[in-house]
């Protein structure tokens, strides 16, 4: 294999990503054990703290082993998909997380899609009419969207659309009378997805505008115009694809924003996703679930970063020519 070939590059990124995940896991473990009260005590908390009982639980959950052993055991098990057992929820961590994954994907995916659609559109318009009133207006709107606290916006939207107007539900993913099908979920998805998408949309507008502005002054655009191509065609078929490359690679970095926003939006809208699970497990000191969620989050970010690197390299016109 050539040293700078794609395969080697990918391999190196994967290895370094895995090392990173192991480090994050170890750090999470240290954090969790540093806090007062272990799982045995949480469990016993409901039933009393008879020392013999505590010792029994600790032996069963292997909490009496030294820390490096526990970390190694956890890494080994999680690589096989076993993230431990949550005594607070009474089920395996994998089930606790898996049960909420779909809801979060639905919310995040819809928000991302809305943000991308609206953001790219507005960004293109702003770049096209750069320096004008429309550009300024779009800038102001996007800056406002970037500055609004999602939890404030969420509660205002609920107060208006759910309580005052009764157009949309106040929260949850489905209606309680179980009649809900796809349409019911969409009905419930509307407000939280819009709220979550606004922040991301603002950023996408800015990035698209910059990238698009740069693309529009390139030679191939003037050439296309000189050949008599209509303005929309120039924008969409010539400039946009080249502008999207930096936009796409930057998008994967916004995962952190989605993860953060998800916790707040899911709380306000009582959406049964992973963000609320994180909040609930932090409050309930459900450390196995918390560790599992942090690991999942880190995995997503690392994967996104690797993907970004791969996309950047793959879409780089210089490497594509080889």
């Amino acid at each position: 294999m050539r040293p700078d070939s794609f395969a080697v590059f990918l391999l190196r990124r994967l290895v370094s990503g895995l090392v990173l995940l192991a480090m994050v896991t170890a750090a999470t473990f240290v954090l969790i054990t540093a806090t007062p009260g272990d799982t045995a005590q949480v469990l016993a908390g409901q039933a009393g703290a008879d020392p013999a009982y505590l010792a029994l639980i600790r032996r069963r959950l292997q909490l009496d082993r030294p820390l490096p052993y526990q970390i190694a055991a956890y890494l080994r098990q999680s690589a096989q998909g076993d993230l431990g057992f949550s005594v607070i929820q009474g089920r395996p961590v994998r089930d606790a997380i898996g049960g909420r994954l779909l809801a979060s994907l639905l919310l995040a995916g819809t928000a991302f899609f809305l943000a991308a659609l609206l953001g790219v559109t507005l960004g293109v318009i702003a770049a096209h009419r750069r320096g004008g009133v429309v550009d300024a207006a779009i800038s102001v709107i996007s800056l406002l969207a970037y500055s609004l606290p999602v939890f404030w916006l969420g509660q205002l939207l609920i107060a208006l659309f759910a309580v005052r107007l009764h157009w949309l539900p106040a929260g949850g993913m489905r209606s309680a009378d179980g009649s809900g099908g796809f349409g019911d979920v969409v009905h419930h998805l509307a407000l939280p997805a819009v709220t979550l998408s606004l922040l991301l949309m603002a950023l996408i507008v800015r990035v698209t505008r910059t990238a698009m502005s740069e693309a529009l002054v390139e030679d191939y655009v003037s050439a296309a115009r000189a050949k008599g191509a209509s303005e929309p065609r120039v924008l969409i078929r010539h400039a946009l694809p080249n502008a999207l490359r930096p936009v796409v690679t930057v998008l994967t970095g916004y995962l952190g924003l989605i993860l953060t926003g998800a916790v707040l939006v899911e709380t306000v809208f009582v959406w049964p996703g992973l963000g609320r699970l994180l909040y609930d497990s932090v409050l309930a000191r459900d450390t196995p679930v918390l560790a599992g969620l942090l690991l999942l989050s880190a995995t997503l970010v690392v994967a996104a970063n690797i993907l970004a690197d791969v996309l950047y390299r793959a879409l780089d016109p210089r490497t594509a020519l080889r």
Binding site: L20, M23, V24, L31, T35, L143, L144, Y146, S147, L148, P149, F151, W152, Q155, L156, A159, V163, L203, R206, V207, T210, P246, V250, G253, G256, L257, L259, T260, V263, L264, T267, L278, Y279, V282, L283, L290, L294, S297, A298, V301, V302
Partner: protein, 263 residues
């Protein structure tokens, strides 16, 4: 520079009004009163004057928006300069550290820390500073690497300037704009993070926080819209001002917006 002026106006108003306003913690029987002469922004569910609480909350927000980014700027600049200029082991370690801290979102780390160790303002500030400096360092490192090959650096060296001189006289001044822009955006983030933590109930209850006010207001939106609207406007305005400041600085000093906006 609209942002800068806006921000200055807010800070000034806070200071002035803090001298004049009532006690933000003084409860009374007049709960949930709408805005009036006596209480220009109304009272909350414990009869406290909302205007006083908004001003007190401004102090909290400013503390968290100024101090951690400033500390992060100092530490990040130092580390970034050294790593970029000298390369080698320091650079390797820095890169690994930066990757590590960027893997878990800042807010989640702060949430876990606040919930487990208590949401004291200084603890949140510490966590923020600890997660802000690596991204500042990364920016500074990148700038330093591109700057160190410039002719003026070689020229300085040939004139007998020490590394320390080059770093502190030339490079520091040249990276300052990037750091300033980056820190402005970090300040906005810090304000939102503190408010978010307070909203979720893991903030510091010994100070007034706009986020906590917004959380309490949820139950009273129907009977007291002022308990939610005014703190929300205050928070959005503060964050907006900080973002405008960052934007304004970026335009003034021609800093590349995209990188800096990442915070």
């Amino acid at each position: 520079m609209v942002g800068g002026l806006f921000l200055l106006a807010m800070v000034g108003a806070t200071v002035l009004a803090a001298l004049a306003a009532g006690d933000p913690f003084q409860p009374s029987e007049t709960i949930l009163r709408s805005p009036s002469r006596l209480h220009p922004l109304g009272t909350d569910e414990l009869g406290r004057d909302i205007l006083s609480r908004i001003l007190s909350g401004a102090a909290t927000t400013l503390k968290i928006a100024i101090v951690p980014p400033a500390v992060a700027a100092a530490v990040g600049t130092l580390v970034g300069l050294l790593a970029g200029y000298y390369g080698g082991l320091l650079d390797e370690v820095l890169l690994k550290l930066m990757e590590f801290t960027l893997v878990v979102p800042r807010f989640l780390i702060a949430l876990v820390a606040a919930a487990f160790f208590g949401g004291h303002l200084w603890l949140v500030g510490l966590v923020l500073a600890a997660t802000f400096w690596p991204s500042t360092a990364r920016l500074v490192r990148a700038e330093t690497i591109s700057l160190r090959e410039r002719e003026f650096v070689a020229a300085s060296r040939s004139l007998g300037a020490s590394d320390g001189w080059i770093l502190s006289r030339h490079l520091l001044l040249l990276v300052a704009p990037v750091v300033a822009v980056n820190s402005s955006f970090q300040a906005g983030q810090a304000a939102l993070i503190e408010a978010g933590l307070a909203f979720l109930g893991v903030g510091d209850r010994n100070v007034v926080s706009w986020g906590a006010m917004l959380a309490d207001a949820q139950s009273y939106l129907q009977v007291g819209w002022w308990t939610s609207v005014f703190p929300g406007i205050a928070l959005a305005s503060m964050v907006l001002a900080l973002n405008l400041l960052g934007d304004g600085l970026a335009d003034t000093w021609n800093v590349r917006g995209r990188e800096a906006a990442r915070g």
